[in-house]
């Protein structure tokens, strides 16, 4: 049979394809629906948090930080409750990472605060002596992209039925409504910050990346 296949490229290719496609079908499909189900209490991200998540992705925070607490005592002692599949139901993409150059961030919102993050992003060594994390000063200069974050929220709501605007769930509404709610949410974070430029910018109606990413990090619980 193999000799015959080696003379018939079409059937050879079909054969190879069947052999390699098989595993994906068998491992990914059976639990697909179940794995996508949220656990009770999991909520979709607000627009501000989503904008922060985009900053997290833009600077590849996931290259050094995981968001996956494995079920070992050494991990639950350090980071909190181990991760459940349903907690990730609204994570598109997932951000588990594959390397922990820095600590896990799955539940960082439980034990870090807005002002801690502000110092840390400006000068990591000021709050964690010996840290090898670079400072992310440009997050204090660049504006967060609110429109794209809103577009993403609306997309997942319409396409994947993510439960925005449902009882007990974050409100999305129109862009103007969402923007208004976002400014209120951001105001609470800016109030806890020291940086005068960020505060000035906020008064002008601008949201800096640092505000959005802190909102996102605070939401990780």
């Amino acid at each position: 049979m193999f000799h015959w296949l080696e003379k018939n490229p079409f059937f050879f290719a079909v054969g190879v394809f069947l052999v390699i496609a098989y595993a994906g079908v068998v491992t990914i499909l059976p639990d697909f629906m179940e794995s996508a189900r949220p656990v009770t209490g999991t909520k979709p991200y607000t627009v501000l948090e989503l904008a922060g998540r985009h900053v997290y992705i833009k600077d590849s925070c996931n290259a050094c930080h995981s968001q996956l607490v494995r079920p070992f005592k050494s991990e639950t002692d350090r980071y909190g409750m181990y991760s459940l599949s349903g907690e990730y139901a609204y994570d598109r993409p997932f951000l588990w990472g594959s390397k922990r150059t820095g600590p896990d961030l799955m539940r960082v919102g439980n034990y870090r605060t807005t002002d801690w993050h502000e110092y840390h992003m400006l000068a990591p060594q000021s709050v964690v002596p010996g840290s090898i994390m670079p400072a992310y000063k440009h997050m204090f200069k660049n504006n967060a992209d609110i429109e794209t974050a809103y577009a993403e929220a609306l997309t997942v709501k319409n396409v994947f039925n993510v439960p925005y605007d449902q009882p007990d769930m974050p409100k999305l509404g129109t862009y103007d409504e969402a923007k208004k709610a976002l400014m209120e949410e951001a105001a609470l974070i800016v109030a806890d910050m020291k940086d005068s430029e960020v505060k000035e910018a906020f008064k002008r109606g601008e949201i800096k990346e640092i505000v959005a990413i802190i909102a996102y990090l605070n939401s990780l619980k």
């Binding site: 394809f17 833009k58 993409p93 577009a151």
Partner: protein, 488 residues
Amino acid sequence: MQANHALNYDYSVAKCFTYATILFGIIGMLIGVVIAYQMAFPELNYLAGEYGTFGRLRPLHTSGVIFGFLLSGIFATWYYIGQRVLKVSMAESPFLMVLGKLHFWLYMLVMIIAVVNLFLGIGTSKEYAELEWPLDIAVVVVWVMWGISIFGLIGIRREKTLYISMWYFIATFLGVAMLYLFNNMAVPTYFVAGMGKWYHSVSMYAGTNDAMVQWWYGHNAVAFVFTVPIIAMIYYFLPKESGQPVFSYKLSLLSFWGLMFVYLWAGGHHLLYSTVPDWVQTMGSIFSVILILPSWGSAINMLLTMKGQWGQLKENPLIKFMIFASTFYMLSTLEGPIQAIKSVNALAHFTDWIPGHVHDGTLGWVGFMTMAALYHMAPRMYKRELYSKKLMESQFWIQTTGIVMYFSSMWIAGITQGMMWRATDQYGNLAYSFIDTVTVLIPYYALRATGGLLYLIGFFMFAYNLYKTMTVSKAIEREPQNASPMAA
């Protein structure tokens, strides 16, 4: 079949991709060395504002070496090997010639836009699949062009039986196509919401499912870019360079179909102790161990091809590169399954042992084999002997030293890190704060970066040697049968 000898193979596309391999090799490895030193000396993060931070550069390094250096190398060797094993010249088909050149230029365009994108932080965060949807579509077009080139050349072939290398090239094409398409499925947000950035998209899969699809892709991108096409190369170049026939046809058959079937299951080993279903994790673990068989099958087939001819290792540095490559393939494919055992993975996952493992495969196996392939091709493409054997010898030893420094420092670093994360004091409390487990690694990071630097220096020697071969080396009249001619 005397027509073979009269055939004039056309290497214009292979040459273009050879230049691209060198270019992206330098860029990708240089960035790799920079980010490696950044981990030891964080001040190096501030050389280029926000564009020089580790976060921005890391995807550039991985994409640069995988899709820049290596993919170019794969294309270069394809446009060389394909014609020869099918006994047909590309020049016989004007269509395939035009297509090949288009393939090259479109590939370069996509790569350049991709580099700019990654500097700007535009991406999806998925490892080795960072590009946003407009570029994904362009990548698919490039890939389809390569597919047409493969099957087009097969269509006009004289040699009816497909040589082993062809199996692996076909598998590379199909495997990457399938994986890339499914993993990059996303919805462009602009077209739904009518606002925001037009190139932004959101993944079709959420959370655990997204992770499963990503590592099904991520692991097998390794399979179908780092392994399958490299085996295609070694099955052609080692017998050619050494003048020895492949040791066993049956072993190559077993290894090929075994690899095809087993590899795709192994992605789950990236997700051990995560929230993916337990049975998927177990399957990933088991199949990773089984994977030793087909991997070692190919490697042993290559080693035994040299049976009775080990003297060639002393005389011919190219043989040395290739045998070293397949030995490193064996090391890497033994180390991987060990790390995929659940209890070992509990310690190794998230630590530096993983990049250590990746790099003994990529530097030792992939890098050495690709460079040996281009060395073998150069005298045949440019009709000149290789410029310097001595330089090649020094390159070999400098790079080997670099690789050993790299993986040994990462082994120690990874295991240290894993042990410290779980260490407890006599009362059962965690013994170390996280930062303790970082600062202790800095000497190893410095050592690793220096190992990488040695490898990069060796790559510059390779580039220089090839450049001299192309331009000033002594011309040769007849194409060498086997051992590549080289000046001392």
